[in-house]
Structures are given as structure tokens and as C-alpha cells.
Symmetry: C2
């Protein structure tokens, strides 16, 4: 029997991520910051709103002027004026007085609440009836109620969504400091692999991995850069790796699933400057024959040749490394995956973590996960899949009806 490499436990592999430094930062326009990782806490330099603001169309009032008002016994109040939008009212109001105000308008001095227009009736140009009392603070935003001066708006390490961008816009943060987007090189290897433009001869296969990996890298918020197909030639792969390390932040070598090509990849990785092979085989399936090396501060991956294995390894193992160097703080991840019920039993091998492709469907108000049949190397199984489910290291299998978390694909 041929001796195989010693596999590393998945969690141990993931721990290596924090050994790699985060990327540098850059200043970008807020308008282009969706999906970027904020590099420094952003704080409120004013109150938001910076004035007492109406949240309704109606009349600004001192709440006490309305106490006891009802349909049967309305309060009669005097219109002192009208608040122009976007301006500070030039007058103040006292007890028994109101000012006409629109949503977003600034309350005049003396007012502490707004009566909705629906609860009033104009008697004449200077008098209204109010049918319902309001409490102080009702239908308004207090100064600083959304954000107080000095509060943290968005913490460093957060991935910016539309709402964080909106909040930063409210404080005029036109340019912000974010981590640079990781640039990830993709090198395809294998004597059987040809460019997708070519018609493959018998025995050849088009370079699927370059396309699939580019898509996954992009989805992970990084920038893919491709280096074409390298034959099983030491000098050629060494040169491409050196170039990729100089031009990017991480290198993915894909293809070459045979033992020979793996050995050969290890040889090249070992020859790179300041290199170390950290992992040679991971306790997951598919994806066992994965290599992780470092050259200086950069990670280099030798990924399995089968495209389906490569996709699983990327989602489960590589992506956390990209997120880490790209500046995403683990506590700011918003990963809440759907949970579904298995629609049949699945068996599994102990001693490794299995990832099973599933299709999701709803029936009788329940979300079901249907394991996808077919050999693991078939890309059509990934096209049919909505996600992956994990079967733990020490689990022999899962029963029909088990609730499983689904990692979206």
C-alpha cells in the first residue's frame, strides 16, 4: 500500500488564517464602498438629527396645550405660523399656539411634539381644533435621537451595506478608509487542460476551474487575476508562482489532482522564497488533497483538480482566509444560513467532515434539503445544488428529518 500524506483537521487549518496579516488600507469614495471592509471606527461628529425634527405632517405644539383634547371636547389652538422646510423657524410658540409643519421640518422653540394633521380641523386661517392629545416627544425625533455626537457610527472590520453607507452619508463622510480588496491569482495546471477557446482533443478537458474560481473569488469580495494554464513543468510553474506572488495577495493553483501533480506542486511551493508547507491534506470530503503553503506573508493554495472539490474547499477553507486578509472581523460577519430538514438518510464516514450538496424545496410550509445524487466529480451536481450541508467529524450519518444548516452556494 502506498503511504499517503497526513491530513490536518479542518479547524486547525482555519486557525492558520490569523497568521496572515491584514492588507493595507486605502481611501475611497463612500459612493463606491458597498461590500468593502471599514478600516477604522467612524464616529459621529454632530448629533443626528442636529435639531428637533417632525416625523409627521401636522402642527408643532407644546404637548400640554393638547391635554384632555378629544372629539367631543377639542382643544382650540392658534396658528402662529408655518415652518418652511430646510429652515430654522424665525418664531417660537407658546402655550395655546401651534405652527404648521411638514415631515422633516424643524420644530420651533417652545414646541415639544407634533399633532398629526389627521387629528385636527382648520376652523379658519388662524385657528385649529385638535381632537387628540399628544405626549411630549410624540411624532418628533429629538436632537441626537438617531446618533449622539461621539458615538461610533460603524466599527472597523464591518462590511459596509447600504444602511451603513447611508449612516456615514448622514455625517458627510464622503471619503472613507477601507482595507484594500484582496487580489487573488489563479493558476491552472495539468497536461490535460486546454483553454476554453480550444476544441479539446480526446483525453483533454477545458479549463473549468479558472472560470469557477474567478467567480468564487469575486463573490468573496476579492479581485481574481488569471495566469492561464501551466504544464507540468517545474520552471514554468515556479516562474508563474513568483509572478503571481509579486502581483497579488494570495495564489490559488488549481488542477493537477493526480498524486504526481500534487508532488510536483509541493516541490515548486517548497522552492519559493521563505516558504513553508503548512497543510498537506485536510480532513474533509470532498477536498482532502488540498495544500496550503506560505511564502513570506502570502498564502498559496494547491487545490484539488476536480472542480466540485475545489468549489467546496474554496467555500469552506479558502474564503475565510480571503475575508481575514481583507479586513472582515469575525464578530461582524452576518452569516445566518437557512435551516432545512433532510428528506432522506445520508451516511457518512467518521474521522472527516463531509460536505453534501443539497437542493432546497418547500413543501407544506417546510424547507426540505434533498441530497443530490451523482458522482462527486460531476459539475452538474453543483449546478443543481443550492447549498452544502456539513456532516461532522464524529458523525456516522444523518437521519431523514434531521434539521441541517445549509451553506448557500
Amino acid at each position: 500500500m502506498k503511504e499517503f500524506f497526513k491530513v490536518t483537521d479542518l479547524n486547525k487549518v482555519l486557525e492558520y488564517a490569523s497568521d496572515f496579516p491584514r492588507l493595507e488600507t486605502e481611501d475611497i469614495f463612500l459612493m463606491e464602498s458597498r461590500g468593502r471592509m471599514l478600516a477604522a471606527d467612524m464616529n459621529a461628529d454632530i448629533d443626528l438629527p442636529d435639531f428637533m425634527r417632525s416625523t409627521m405632517d401636522g402642527y408643532a405644539v407644546c404637548a400640554s396645550s393638547t391635554f384632555g383634547a378629544s372629539e367631543a371636547n377639542p382643544a382650540y389652538l392658534t396658528i402662529k405660523g408655518s415652518v418652511p422646510m430646510g429652515e430654522s423657524p424665525a418664531f417660537s410658540i407658546g402655550v395655546g399656539e401651534v405652527a404648521k409643519i411638514s415631515t422633516g421640518g424643524m420644530l420651533p422653540n417652545g414646541a415639544d411634539s407634533v399633532v398629526m394633521i389627521e387629528h385636527t380641523e382648520a376652523i379658519d386661517k388662524t385657528t385649529i381644533e385638535v381632537y387628540k392629545s399628544v405626549a411630549p416627544g410624540q411624532n418628533i425625533l429629538e436632537k441626537g435621537e438617531d446618533m449622539h455626537k461621539g458615538q461610533t457610527l460603524v466599527p472597523a472590520g464591518e462590511c459596509l451595506r447600504a444602511q451603513e453607507i447611508g449612516l456615514l452619508a448622514a455625517f458627510g463622510k464622503k471619503r472613507i478608509t477601507v482595507y484594500k480588496k484582496p487580489v487573488v491569482s489563479i493558476i491552472s495546471t495539468g497536461d490535460e487542460v486546454v483553454s476554453i477557446e480550444e476544441m479539446p482533443d480526446p483525453g483533454q478537458i477545458r479549463d473549468i476551474n479558472m472560470y469557477t474560481l474567478s467567480g468564487l473569488v469575486e463573490k468573496a469580495g476579492a479581485v481574481p487575476t488569471t495566469y492561464g494554464i501551466v504544464r507540468d513543468d517545474f520552471d514554468d510553474l515556479f516562474e508563474k508562482c513568483t509572478m503571481a506572488l509579486a502581483q497579488s495577495d494570495m495564489v490559488l493553483i488549481s488542477g493537477g489532482s493526480s498524486v504526481g501533480t500534487r508532488d510536483f506542486t509541493i516541490e515548486v511551493l517548497s522552492a519559493l522564497p521563505a516558504s513553508e508547507i503548512l497543510v498537506h491534506g485536510i480532513s474533509i470530503s470532498p477536498g482532502k488533497p488540498t495544500i496550503l503553503a506560505r511564502s513570506g506573508d502570502q498564502a498559496i493554495w494547491g487545490l484539488p483538480g476536480q472542480v466540485t472539490s475545489t468549489m467546496v474547499v474554496f467555500e469552506i477553507v479558502v474564503k475565510p482566509f480571503i475575508e481575514h486578509i481583507g479586513g472582515l472581523s469575525p464578530e461582524h460577519k452576518r452569516h445566518f444560513n437557512p435551516v432545512a430538514q433532510l428528506n432522506r438518510n445520508i451516511s457518512s464516514t467518521q474521522g472527516r467532515t463531509d460536505y453534501i450538496r443539497v437542493k432546497l424545496f418547500e413543501k407544506d410550509g417546510i424547507l426540505w434539503a434533498e441530497p443530490i445524487l451523482g458522482k462527486s466529480g460531476l459539475i452538474n451536481t453543483m449546478v443543481k445544488a443550492d447549498g452544502l450541508i456539513e456532516i461532522g467529524l464524529n458523525t456516522e450519518g444523518l437521519d431523514e428529518g434531521t434539521k441541517v444548516e445549509v451553506i448557500p452556494l
Copy 2:
């Protein structure tokens, strides 16, 4: 009491989407197609793989040569040759013969399976012992097993993920036809709104909505284009709308949450060529004062001024329209939202669909949804939120412990 507009039921509003035509198509590089909607079915013009392929390192064999083989009683087989990667083997094998083969190699004629290298031992250069029998078809992919010639690879209307791109790469589809990305104009209105570069005077507020909406449009797979801030001036808004209709596929007018500004927006929309007001108010909260109009084939939205309301309306109502004109088929949506348990009671008003912001957290293996307190107009509530939950039209509220689907934000 002032008379209000008649609200339209949410489902009725969503039905209008199909009245708008899908956009034109364009040819793009497969490498740049992630997240795009395929415009025509793509079919397999060859088999994948196009030859019988090994999925293991080992020996190609005619399965019958191994029948009965075991550790105690190995089969002795003759090595006929070695299959070079990427080439069609120049020899065939017969009963009692094997060919050395790597993962991805092409099986020689006469072979129907592969014995894994782990289950063999080389005796000398021409003979191996096999310790385990294989069945025909074992450790190989049949010609066409992944995809048969003529099969649909990816149907029209599907949003392309990394795996669909990989499958199309396998068939050499270097350029593909997709729907054009919707270009969505954003016009901000309101006399109180100033550019984010300005320091707002008392009564003024920076233009948050332009930034938030741009982020949401981008997240929905469309291209935002902004037209700055328009004051409450008929000619100005009419001119900006006309320009936006000429330069984009859909127009969003944001801000102007007061009744006066709404009336004014209706006036401008009604004056546009071939225009019709389809919806003036929707039975949802927040987001009731939403306007939907058409001008010819294009949708124009009057969105609420409060940024939080605008975000909810965008997610629930506007996004399906963008997806529709952008070519996404409803049957190809992959929206499987997490389900969480409410951690307290929520009350709701019958006769409208309520959307409640929630924060998600895990405790004791259960995913909990915590409703976010605070007035609905506060943007910090959106920053705290992981998603929205829906409380239906005819529901008075939800009890603690109820399982709720969470729409991610």
C-alpha cells in the same frame, strides 16, 4: 379630517411588475458574467466528459479481470502501458491487462473501470497484484455522464453563479447572451435636503437616500445613476425626470415625504409622456406613501422620504421590478431565507403588512430574532438590523417563540 389616498394591496402592486417589458440583451464575456441573467437556453454541443475518464489514480482495467480478487487471493495483472495525461492512449487492453492512469486520464479501449492505486502492489515493472475487485464503471466518469450532448446546460432567466459559469466554460461558451443590467436613476427631492459635502444648517439634513438607494440598487444587480438634489420646483423635477427616463430603465424619486411634496411629485409624474399613476399608497408599514407610475414602458417610483421606509419599500416592492426587467425568472430565484424564533411578542395593525426590523443571534443552538426598538425613522435601527420579518395583512401580532422567516438586509 383630511382625505387620504386609497392604498393598493401589496400583492396587487407586485403584479404590475410583469406589465413592464424585459430589457434588451447583450453579448458579454463569460468571465464577466457572474450575477448576470442568461437570456437564452445554453445547450451541450458535445458530451461532458467527451471520453471515459478516470476519477482516481490507479490502473485502468476491464472489471472482470478483478472479480474475486482479495488480500488473501490477489489478481495478478499485466501492465500494458501508461496513459499520458491529455492524450488518447495509443493501445488497448484486454482481459488480464491494466494501464497505469492518473485522475483525469482517458481510459484505453477495453477498460471499463479503474482500480485505486491503494488497492494494488507492483510486483515488478510489468506485473501488479490487485487486492480488491471493481465493478464496471467504478472510479470513472462515463462519456456524457456529467452532461449529454443536446441537454440544457443553463436555462434562460437563470442568474449565473460560479458553477453555471464553470459548466458553460466546459463547453467553450466564451461569450454568452445576457439581459442588459438595469440602469436605475435616483433623484433626491426636498427643500430640506443638502449634499453630503455640505455642513447642514439648522433645519437641513444631508442626502442620505441617494447613498442608501445607490447601495441597494447595486446589491440588486443593477447600475445606480444619480441626478443630485431637486428642489420642490415643477420644471426642475420634470426636466430631471425626462432626462432620467431617457438615460435609464427605471427612475426612483426619493425624499419629499410630506403630503405637499407627494402631491407635487404626482403632478410631475402625471405630466410625463404616456404616463399613468398605477399606485398611490401601498398597504405596508413602513412605506405606505409610495407612488408607482409608468411613463411608456418605464416604471417611476415616488419613494417615502424617510430612509428606513425607503429601504423597506425597495427590498419588498422595487427589487422584484428590477429583477423582472433584468430578466430573472421567478422560478430561478434562489431565495431561501433563515427562519428564527421571535424572542418577544410583537403587536401589529390589521389591514396592512408590517415589516419589523430584527437582529439575529444564536443561543442554545436556536436562532433568535430580536425586534429592534426605536422609532421607525431612525437609520440606526437599520444599521442594527440583520433583516426584516413580515407580519401579514390579517394578523394582529406575533407571539414570543413564533418562527419567522427573516428577509436579510
